[in-house]
Symmetry: C2
Subunit: 204 residues, 2 copies
Amino acid sequence: MQFSSKIIEQAVETFAQLPGVGKKTALRYVLHLIKQNDTEQLAQIIRQLKTDLKFCSKCQNICESTVCDICSNPVRDQSLLCVVQDYRDVMAIENTGLYKGLYHVLGGLISPMEGVGPGHLNIDSLSARMEESKVKEVILALNATMEGETTSFYIYRKLAPYKVKLSAIARGIAVGDELEYTDEATLGRSIANRQPFSAFFSVE
Amino acid sequence: MQFSSKIIEQAVETFAQLPGVGKKTALRYVLHLIKQNDTEQLAQIIRQLKTDLKFCSKCQNICESTVCDICSNPVRDQSLLCVVQDYRDVMAIENTGLYKGLYHVLGGLISPMEGVGPGHLNIDSLSARMEESKVKEVILALNATMEGETTSFYIYRKLAPYKVKLSAIARGIAVGDELEYTDEATLGRSIANRQPFSAFFSVE
């Protein structure tokens, strides 16, 4: 792509660094912004992301103070800890309204292909939390992908010395799914991990 | 979507105003930026889009000075004027390397559905250019869509009083296309508007 203006070129290159954004999409954003009357709001909020947001010192979730609202909430069950990949997963689980424990945000998954090792993630601080706190159960809620399973297994080994119950969220067919179209691996696991029928009606 | 932080919520809403960006994509951008070390560049370039870019006083193209590089280039053919929708189309035509005339950027297309009338576009300034300048031919290079054809027809009527040749870019099958998969409207027009075979080898 050849641009008539250096500024447009720079802007396109900067926007194209956003995940999943190519040069064509970046140019679309840039032209939209040029037409806008007020782009100051966007520039301002981007600055604020850096200046006003912090990572919770306990769970590493994104928040506006030193300790996040969930960690500082005395009503939450301090004996339950749910390990998730990032902020989006915390949001997703919070939106179910069914989980009342605490979280631990890893900030990613182990992925040798992308050069992400255990050292890049908040796994050491997870061990540290085991030593300090009154956690009785750690729930691994990671993606059902190669990276997710690898990370789960790594944490499983890492937490073996501690006397905590370790569980993982259930794999099985999704609500609304039809058996016919479910892949074999999922269907196989959903049969192997079958649950008492009464469990479907009591959610805790 | 429920956010634990007001700033993330605001940022997501601001990013979701970009064209084609929903809240999920906006959140993806925001989380990416939070992880980045340096977001200042993006904030800075967004400000610059407003402060340093202008619209060319002649053709309304986006540029860094009062008159754009194309309009101020004495080598360009001043008798040819190509009417396009926006900056991207100028880029696309410039990239062909086959057009040496000037441009006129409308800034959009007539679209009653989206509330865009002729008054919102740079059409009056096009008439003004007809009166002043030595334009001999106006080439309509607008999208082959309902909006594009409507706008072309409106300009055709608007320029009728002026003694300029009015042409439109050729409709036909794209280079590399197979007849079998070409829609009937395009194929029909490509037969009706057939060209001397020799025209394929002389490009001017």
